[in-house]
């Protein structure tokens, strides 16, 4: 019951942990929520945000811009890393019509995991472009739904035509250890970037 440690004596902020985030991107049904749930210390929570965009109605002869409001659902989980750091994992809506909000989500992210169904590799092209263009480190998790390796890391790198090879990890994100391996591959790759 003691919040004093967080907020008293001006030195307040020092005692509060620092929040970090990693994005989990990928098409619908690819396993984002499952992955978050496998490593999160709380069951994945879901929240909705509404975004207002100016748009011009097609049928509107006067072409007066209207505000349209879209609700975007995102889910997230939490991992307490140590006493000073807490990591949030955000499942980002894969649909391209939600991309206007990706910049917000990606700002200040340590990196991203692009979860991919090996039978639908093309679904990841757009996410990969997004992270490449913004120079956000990412790893590709190939969710092997049938427990078989349906492709090799080299094939995936070739198919995605990556500017710089990204780590490709075969995974079953229902398993915590498997999800951890994907996250660690991303972080090791980010570390290589940081070392320069």
């Amino acid at each position: 019951m003691e919040s004093a440690g967080y907020s008293q004596q001006g030195g307040s902020q020092l005692a509060m942990p620092t929040a970090l985030k990693i994005l989990i991107a990928g098409g619908f049904g690819v396993g984002k929520t499952t992955m978050i749930g496998s490593v999160s210390e709380v069951p994945p929570l879901e929240t909705e945000e509404y975004m207002t965009q100016a748009s011009v109605g097609v049928d509107d002869l006067a072409q007066i811009p209207e505000k349209t409001t879209t609700t975007v659902a995102m889910d997230f989980g939490r991992i307490t890393l140590d006493t000073e750091h807490v990591l949030y994992l955000f499942g980002t809506p894969g649909q391209e019509r939600f991309w206007f909000m990706w910049d917000d989500l990606a700002a200040g992210a340590l990196g991203a995991v692009v979860l991919t169904d090996p039978r639908r590799l093309a679904d990841s092209f757009a996410s990969v472009d997004f992270f490449e263009q913004r120079r956000i480190p990412f790893a590709i998790g190939i969710n092997c739904f049938y427990g078989r390796r349906e492709c090799t890391a080299e094939e995936v790198n070739a198919a995605l035509n990556l500017r710089n090879p990204a780590p490709v990890v075969m995974c079953d994100v229902r398993e915590r250890e498997s999800s951890k391996r994907v996250l660690l591959a991303l972080l090791e790759s980010a570390k290589t970037v940081a070392i320069g």
Partner: protein, 128 residues
């Protein structure tokens, strides 16, 4: 979609118009370049315990109750109160003005993290 997916109480399917959040935040949405990010951490200040709750908006006291014992991110408060994050940002702005909460912004280092920070994250994940 997702877990525990539910229709939000504040979204009026019929009119497609969002009534409740605007009312709660007095018609304000979080301004561009708001001080709050989705993962800004919020914790109630000890002084908030002596606040006369009957005079405060219920959503404000709900935020104080949630963050009494440990810091929560804006997005966690939003999920627990079933409010859009942008509305929670406005409400937390009000609480901050009243010195009822302390906040911690996410690391500005995160978009170009140091090797040391990344190693701490790596160690934290390995320990899971």
């Amino acid at each position: 979609m997702g877990v525990g997916k539910k229709k939000s109480s504040w979204f009026d399917e019929e009119s497609g118009y969002l009534v409740r959040p605007y009312a709660i935040s007095g018609g304000r949405t979080s301004p561009e370049g708001s001080d709050f990010a989705l993962i800004t951490l919020v914790v109630a200040m000890p002084a908030s315990r002596t606040l006369d709750r009957r005079r405060e908006q219920p959503e404000l006291t709900a935020i104080l109750d949630l963050t009494q014992e440990r810091p929560l991110a804006i997005v966690e408060i939003a999920a627990r109160l079933d409010l859009p994050a942008s509305v929670v940002k406005v409400l937390c702005g009000d609480l901050l003005d009243k010195s009822m909460i302390a906040v911690k912004k996410p690391s500005h280092e995160a978009s170009a993290p140091s090797v040391e920070l990344l190693e701490r994250v790596i160690n934290g994940i390995r320990r899971l």
